[in-house]
């Protein structure tokens, strides 16, 4: 049984965590997985198609849904897609994206950036 929370989702009428739109994307995934189980490439293409026009911000909704539904394969896949989308983004972009705040002392962050200056090469402009 791929995810146990689905039953709970349908039973829980006051559920605000997953909209119908998201559910229609996430829930058919296991069946599709089963149908083309042996062929990884086909699955990859299906998944690429699914997420072709989805922006990173939209993906957060899908991730929250997969997380809530306890659907590990979908969660890993969505996380991988986000990772591919943000891999060349700047530190500031990623901070805002995840809603994290810098808690470095003044000068500490600069020191770190200098130490790993090579990792800042080729970063996208914000």
């Amino acid at each position: 049984m791929k995810f146990c929370t689905v039953k709970q989702y349908f039973d829980d009428e006051n559920n605000n965590n997953v909209t119908n739109g998201i559910a229609t994307t996430v829930i058919p995934l296991p069946n599709k997985h089963l149908k083309i189980k042996a062929n990884n490439k086909e699955m990859e293409q299906y998944e690429q198609e699914l997420l072709r026009n989805v922006m990173p911000q939209e993906l957060t909704k899908l991730i929250l849904a997969a997380n809530y539904l306890n659907f590990k394969e979908a969660l890993d896949f969505f996380c991988r897609t986000v990772a591919n989308a943000i891999q060349n983004k700047s530190v500031d972009y990623v901070r805002k994206f995840f809603g994290l705040e810098s808690d470095f002392e003044p000068g500490e962050e600069e020191k770190l950036c200098k130490e790993f200056a090579w990792s800042f090469e080729g970063v996208d402009e914000d």
Partner: protein, 304 residues
């Protein structure tokens, strides 16, 4: 009395992902991005540095990309810096050159071994100067001086110790005519310490032709000339278990020929221990079937 219920909506209280999901995403990023994003915050910095994150990230690396390393054993370059050649796939159609960021006293360099993306290099032939190098994060470290006396006829082995999540380098030195001295370096203690085999056993470790000392099933394996008390000298395989830090003797395969003019070496073959022998026009390869059986029987293995 029933209340009118509103249709369910996605409540974006903060629209932010749980922290463990953030780490899941970061764990799928290439190394360069991960290193840069350590500057996001202190808590992210320490999460990324944690052993759990590091091993998850290591497991996420695509294992289809086999990295084969080649390094020129003798530098003919004008600039006195070595270059390491890396093949990024088993098809060898993408090859990169990575400059070695440190120097050796001699122009010759040997690859002692590689584990989890960490390389161990040493000067060749002395084997006195050893460096550990992680090309992905561009960090390297020179090991401290030996704790043995004068080093002679050195062999080196590099291993990963899974039980303690530590990296170890083992060096043998044949300064004495009758027996080799052994020392072991561990990255966690950043120091060398002597290793004894047994008071009643003399072991001379052999160089493994031009191949690295193989690391198989948690142990480093050498060809060695072994003399136990009240027994004749014989050629065996000495296996050093890096977790228990103990040596074990393995017999050579049945059918191997004992003779001084043979070319022989041990190697790692598809994760198993292999033994190569060349005698005149015949080349033989043995691959050990079941490593556990050796511990019980004290002998081995099937002929390929």
């Amino acid at each position: 009395m029933s209340q009118t219920r509103e249709p369910p909506t996605l409540r974006h209280r903060n629209n932010h992902l749980p922290y463990d999901v953030v780490l899941n995403i970061l764990g799928q990023l290439p190394v360069k991005s991960v290193m840069r994003l350590r500057c996001v915050s202190k808590s992210l910095y320490s999460s990324i540095a944690s052993p759990d994150f590091i091993s998850t990230h290591l497991n996420n690396i695509n294992h289809d990309n086999a990295h084969v390393i080649h390094i020129e054993s003798e530098s003919t370059r004008v600039i006195n810096r070595q270059v390491c050649m890396v093949a990024l796939a088993r098809t060898f159609d993408r090859i990169s050159e990575i400059g070695v960021p440190f120097d050796f006293p001699t122009k010759c360099v040997q690859i002692v071994g590689s584990c989890n993306g960490l390389l161990c290099l040493a000067d060749y032939p002395p084997g006195n100067v050893v460096h550990l190098w992680n090309p992905s994060i561009r960090r390297f470290k020179k090991l401290p001086h030996t704790c043995l006396g004068l080093l002679k006829h050195v062999t080196l082995g590099f291993a990963y110790c899974s039980e303690s999540n530590d990296y170890k380098v083992v060096r043998t030195s044949g300064s004495s005519l009758s027996t080799s001295e052994i020392e072991m370096y561990s990255l966690s203690s950043d120091s060398w310490k002597r290793v004894e085999i047994s008071v009643t056993t003399d072991v001379i470790f052999c160089k493994n032709l031009v191949s690295p000392i193989p690391f198989v099933s948690g142990a480093l394996h050498w060809m060695a000339s072994v003399k136990e008390e009240n027994r004749m000298t014989e050629t065996d395989i000495m296996a050093f278990d890096v977790n228990s830090e103990k040596f074990r003797k393995l017999a050579l395969p049945h059918g191997s020929i004992d003779g001084p003019l043979l070319q022989r070496c041990v190697a790692s073959f598809r994760g198993k221990l292999a033994f190569f022998e060349e005698s005149g026009f015949q080349y033989s390869i043995w691959v050990m079937g079941d490593y556990e059986m050796i511990k019980q029987r004290g002998r081995d293995l099937s002929m390929l």
